[in-house]
Symmetry: C2
Subunit: 341 residues, 2 copies
Amino acid sequence: MATIKDVAREAGVSVATVSRVLNDSGPVSPETRRRIREVATRLRFAPNSAARSLITARTTTLGVLLPDLYGEFFSEVIRGIDQAARRHGYHLLVSSSHADRAETEAALRAMRGRVDGLVIMSPDLDARALVQNLPDRLPLVLLNSAVQGDAYDALTIENYEGASAMVRHLIALGHRRVAMLKGAARNQDAADRLRGYRAALRSAGMERDPAWEIAGNFTEESGYRAVEALLRLEPRPTAVFAANDAMAIGAMSALREAAVAIPGEMAVAGFDDIPIARYVSPPLSSVRVPIGELGERATEMLLEAIRAGKDRTTRRETLATTLVIRQSCGSAPQQGSLTEH
Amino acid sequence: MATIKDVAREAGVSVATVSRVLNDSGPVSPETRRRIREVATRLRFAPNSAARSLITARTTTLGVLLPDLYGEFFSEVIRGIDQAARRHGYHLLVSSSHADRAETEAALRAMRGRVDGLVIMSPDLDARALVQNLPDRLPLVLLNSAVQGDAYDALTIENYEGASAMVRHLIALGHRRVAMLKGAARNQDAADRLRGYRAALRSAGMERDPAWEIAGNFTEESGYRAVEALLRLEPRPTAVFAANDAMAIGAMSALREAAVAIPGEMAVAGFDDIPIARYVSPPLSSVRVPIGELGERATEMLLEAIRAGKDRTTRRETLATTLVIRQSCGSAPQQGSLTEH
DNA sequence: TTGTAGGCGTTATCAG
DNA sequence: CTGATAACGCCTACAA
């Protein structure tokens, strides 16, 4: 690998001049500049990033810390982060599938000094504990995380609003007994969606029954298994809202096996609007989440924070969700933004 | 951030001794060792990775280059890579969603010097062109990539075998007209699965009709749209094999809308066996691919190559696929490994 | 406009 | 067993 010295020698100048050309810092005569550029490309020179970040104290790398995510959600969020980062010339140091807090903290420590900032998604625990393990004032953005106070930048989606809009829609269709398949325990998204469900029932003057809130953990299988409990309820609910699409699809599978007509005997709705939702049978009504945008926006926020440096007030943003109505809940197909509901 | 000097001063020793303790290199008296350890943790010392890799010429980071992948496949492969890398104390520099060759090459250049090795998945083009852009002898493993010769380590899956086994299964069920939804053009996986399809027809003494090979690009939507062409065929095929599950699910959706009974009037089979396959209606027969394992094994191969250094013969491995038979192709549910067919 | 030289935080090679 | 000290490759005052 050619170093800056090789380029300097070959071009007959000092390393300082080469550095100036490569970084556009300081004045260099056009002719010298041209010559250095020529030599640099000929030698396929690429600055050693370790040496550079040793002196600049910057890495042009962003850290991404993700929990054990599956499927579309994971891939879309990474895609969004990746695109925004690349747009700004940043690399991505990714550490994913952290099951518990110890793992997350270990990963966090391992990233010390290797990144200029962090996007952290930690839906399962209070983010404050996490952040203890970080160097002084590393910029970071919390994604869909349980966080109190406003000590950190945070980006979330309209979990509460989306869930309650969907449940209100079911109620408007005439359903009086609406069950819910809950997401993973101690998960912030799951908790917010549950709150939305409860609020919708309450505001419709309907009482809620704890038995209607069935445990789940965001997997297809948990949705499948939840149907057993659902069908045991007396009187049986006529609609079920799942905290995500994977569970909704699992539940639809079990309902079909139990010969329960969808939406005739049981309306079904999900959350996320993963790409496959429109292709299942019947097509699944869902709450659309702009997943890729979530990643992109988080990255933009992080880069702003990095640029701004220490003195900058923390930001808190929320991304809108959208109701997508298909056949699984019994209405005619239509789409509408949340604000219409 | 505390540096090694701070630790040395505080512990009353030289930086050399601190370094020895931290890296277990060279002898240090137990007492000194203890004291240094104590000071290091008290000061929350973490070695500066830039400085370290500047002198060691190692980064303990692996680069991962991925194309525009979606959904389960992407998340599972990353999960596998991540877990293997973490197990060995390596970080992951990820660059994904590269649409074309120019983007991939740019990403490749950007990683120069930042990684000790690369896992590259580049199903769309001959990997040789890619590798031109790399420093001399950077270790790398090609994942499911189009590669000729054996200049590089490569890991693939049994695309050909899996596809032909599934088509043979359909033929064994009595189907005489089996169509195929093809994957993206110029994609290596797609090409191999198509070869498998053709070989199965041939070995059954069945002629193949180019019209039965319908274009697709691995998305649900392309599967959905392909059904139009499928149903126009005269005589109509009684079975269709899709090059992946996403297309199979899209096709099933369109077939349902066209009131074509599955599997009665049209048997359907896919490839990948994504988690949702068993929950669609009817449950989808598919060729299971050990996606996570693919990532893990690739990473292990890469780490071996890194450890071995220059002089090491290239390896070429193939991961087995498995036939998973569910209701969508009309047989009673059962499972069997490829070798049984 | 250009060059010299110091230093970023480690590791590694010598002496002691 | 321990301590100086020279790299590693680059950036950046400061001089010229």
